[in-house]
């Protein structure tokens, strides 16, 4: 299924050359500097949903950027989507994270449900209404394991009901639709999972926990007990393990790595501004901080290349329809390595930028403040905990040899 979809959207892109990615990115940067940056500090301080940012992205029709053109979307590929996430990361980590998480859910539908009449209609509606998609994957009682569910979707004729205790649903209160993982029937084993699209007006969310964290405060990732009902064709036709390995896992780590790169790049830009201020005070001399900046920039480049190297590999595998490779340990290990590396690197880069900025970076009330960047940076290793990912790689590497 994934083969023809990717091939179609690639063909459509090349047939309509008016999609100019550089132009699009310039628009994203314009929205970032005029809207996201404007509200980022307030969003962070009050841990509130970045409504202005998401509205601006809606106005620019960016919520359907990954939807193929045949449904009215922009038909961006994963590399281009990653660039949008990186650009947003420069201005507001929470807004960029919300956009990235939305993009992951859109990709799940585009890759795995495009042939269902219901979801074809849904994609058009998503384009028209610029609907915001969220996700409820983790569940109380599964210990953070995405591949097992306690709750089950129950079908009653053409309808379904579903109740899930989700410890985290990022921007759940503000989403139009939520993709929920669950067992495919009350009789199914914990690992026999599907994803169900639950829609605003068809679900109730009873708060379970709050979201008052160090960073990514604007994602409003509170917990809820979700009670939903709807039509049976809102259940995605592909099994969740397939969706996870082919789309959710690689797509998440690529777009997260991209937005983390954006946050790190903005920290480096703030450090550069401080270096220039110092250089102006000592004309003719290269300040020591400039050397530190050069070293930090090298790390930033490695981080960025790591993201786009895997994004390009993924895009090409999709275009070739090489779903076997996406199932393989090799690709899965590389995807995990990208997450591990970027989530550590962002802390390193922002920390170095802070040393360069000195007290100007440490202050909360300075225009070179790195407080939000640093607090966001530490979240990267924790969202899908790095220890869990390292353990998965350790297991897979017992079987997988590099170079095959």
């Amino acid at each position: 299924m994934i083969i023809s979809d990717a091939a179609t959207s690639a063909a459509v892109i090349s047939a309509e050359p008016e999609l100019d990615c550089a132009q699009l990115l310039a628009r994203v940067h314009a929205i970032g500097s005029s809207v996201l940056a404007e509200h980022a500090a307030d969003v962070d301080r009050r841990a509130r949903f970045p409504a202005e940012a998401i509205d601006a992205l809606r106005d620019a029709r960016l919520l359907s950027a990954y939807v193929p053109r045949q449904f009215g979307g922009m038909g961006l590929d994963i590399v281009q989507t990653a660039r949008v996430c990186e650009a947003l990361g420069h201005y507001c980590g929470s807004s960029a994270m919300i956009y990235a998480m939305h993009a992951i859910q859109v990709a799940c539908v585009v890759h795995h449900a495009e042939h269902s009449p219901y979801f074809r209609k849904y994609l058009r509606q998503l384009v028209d209404e610029q609907r915001l998609m969220a996700s409820a994957t983790t569940e109380i009682g599964t210990g953070g394991d995405l591949r097992s569910s306690v709750c089950a979707v129950e079908k009653h004729g053409d309808e379904f009901t579903l109740i899930k205790k989700a410890p985290v649903i990022s921007y759940g209160e503000y989403a139009d639709d939520i993709l929920v993982t669950c067992r495919r029937s009350p009789e199914a084993a914990a690992c026999e999972q599907v994803q169900v699209l639950v829609r605003r007006g068809e679900f109730a969310a009873e708060p379970l926990s709050t979201w008052d964290t160090m960073g990514f405060r604007g994602t409003c990732s509170s917990g809820f007990t979700l009670s939903a009902r709807g039509a049976a064709d809102q259940i995605l036709p592909t099994a969740f393990d397939e969706i996870l390995s082919q789309t959710m896992h690689p797509y998440s780590h690529i777009v997260w790595g991209a937005l983390w790169t954006g946050i790190a790049a903005d920290a480096v830009n703030r450090a550069r501004a401080c270096v220039r201020a110092q250089a102006r005070k000592t004309p003719g001399e290269t300040p020591l901080s400039a050397i530190r900046l050069a070293e930090t920039d090298q790390l930033l480049q490695e981080m960025r290349h790591n993201v786009y190297s895997l994004a390009t590999e993924y895009r090409d595998l999709l275009a070739r329809g090489a779903s076997g490779a996406l199932h393989g340990f090799g690709f899965s290990i590389r995807t995990n390595n990208l997450k591990l590396s970027c989530s550590q690197r962002i802390v390193d880069v922002v920390g170095r930028a802070l040393m360069i900025c000195g007290i100007e970076g440490y202050r909360n009330d300075s225009k070179h403040s790195l407080s939000r960047h640093l607090r966001d940076a530490y979240g990267a290793a924790l969202m899908v905990n790095n220890d869990r990912i390292t353990k998965l790689n350790a297991t897979m590497l017992m079987a997988h040899k590099e170079g095959y």
């Binding site: 914990a190 026999e192 393989g328 340990f329 297991t395 079987a399 997988h400």
Partner: protein, 89 residues
């Protein structure tokens, strides 16, 4: 000769069944599954496949080459036994 091959195969099949059972890597009861049943459908995850692979390598004193490390090899008791028979030759 043909009898030898098939008895060797059925011996491998019985041993593979025993290992799968010991690994406790399925959500379904192995006793209810045939040699051709899809183990992934019965709850085998790709990660659990690694443990199963190591146990089989240990028991038969073999090493699976890279080309065999895929879902096709570990799909059922029969396909695993077939791979084992090929490797112990």
């Amino acid at each position: 000769m043909a009898t030898n091959v098939s008895s060797q195969q059925s011996e491998a099949t019985a041993m593979v069944r025993e290992i799968v059972s010991q690994q406790n890597c399925l959500q379904a009861d192995l006793a209810t599954l045939s040699d051709d049943s899809d183990l992934y459908a019965a709850g085998l995850t790709s990660l659990a496949t690694v443990g199963l692979m190591l146990a089989i390598e240990d028991r038969f004193d073999i090493e699976f080459p890279e080309r065999m490390l895929g879902r096709a090899t570990f799909r059922s008791v029969a396909t695993i036994a077939e791979a084992v028979s090929e490797l112990v030759k």
